[in-house]
Amino acid sequence: MADESLFDFLHMEIVSHMYTEQQSSKGEMDNKDRAVCVSVLESMGFRVGQGIIERLTRDSPSFKDELDVMKFVCKDFWTKVFRRQVDNLRTNHQGTYVLQDNKFSFLTQLSSGKQYLDQAPKYLAFSCGVVRGALSNLGMDSVVTAEVSVMPSCKFQVVVQKL
């Protein structure tokens, strides 16, 4: 079944649609417009992440601690959503985690280097939302951002919000 490519196409089209819609109301896109697009994509990802994690952890036992949750996200969850495991997980043991994926699935088709680096954030917003949604349903409120310096490798930074 080739539904992975169908999902990739859908994701590309969603990103493209959001940006064209935002642009059509005015001539140029300014930073505020871009921020709106990113947050819309992120909130869509949030809902999807919540749904996916519910289905995925239906039958699993509860997690021991935060680090256990993050390891699950890096292995099983990442495999289901992005078709590979996270390559590197780092933490300061105080609520900040950095997940590094060296061949991030939405970036592999864009470039393998520095070309189109400025376009990369558009394609990461949805994924940040998916991760944030998944963590939220596992009981961890967080802020997820992504950073790319060389495609297709990218780093997701998760900062867990303490109450």
Partner: protein, 180 residues
């Protein structure tokens, strides 16, 4: 061994769940952005068209199917190869018009609408309209102009989902002026 096969079926279902959930989030967002269902239907069709014109290349690359001889063959390829490949379901082809230019795809189950219910105030929403756009866009890239619409929809109370496809005309390849 059995554990591994469990994971493969799970991962297949998982992928379609990811697609279904993302599609649901998209439709929800469109409903928020546009005031009426007609407009959302149009946007879904437009987005589907954009996906379709690219998807056809992916399909041809994966399936290595040659040119179809007639519309009947096209229908079979769409139902048995394309739908199976991308959505994991094989619709049946039926209700051919006497002229052989119109047919129906009957889907017993539509993966896009798993877990979905239409609220009462969106009764004219064609939820899966993206599919119509995809089919239209993909066929246009292989020189066929078609009209695609939903005749029946399980979300609106029908028993099955029926997509009606009508052949309009063959698109002539237009060479840019000045080419020999």
């Amino acid at each position: 061994m059995s554990r591994q096969s469990n994971r493969t079926t799970d991962s297949k279902k998982m992928n379609s769940e990811l697609f279904t959930l993302t599609y649901g989030a998209l439709v929800t967002q469109l409903c928020k952005d546009y005031e009426n269902d007609e407009e959302v239907n149009k946007q879904l069709d437009k987005m589907g068209y954009n996906i379709g014109v690219r998807l056809i290349e992916d399909f041809l690359a994966r399936s290595s199917i040659g040119r179809c001889q007639d519309f009947r063959e096209t229908a079979d390829v769409i139902a048995k190869v394309a739908f199976k490949m991308y959505l994991g379901t094989t619709p049946s082809v039926s209700n051919w018009s006497p002229a052989g230019d119109e047919f129906s795809l009957i889907l017993e189950n539509n993966p896009l609408v798993d877990f979905v219910e239409l609220p009462d105030n969106h009764s004219t929403l064609v939820y899966s309209n993206l599919l119509c756009g995809v089919l239209r866009g993909a066929l246009e890239m292989v020189q066929m102009a078609v009209d695609v619409r939903f005749a029946q929809d399980t979300l609106r109370g029908d028993n099955v989902t029926e997509i009606r496809m009508k052949f309009i005309k063959r698109i002539e390849e237009n060479l840019p002026a000045g080419d020999e």
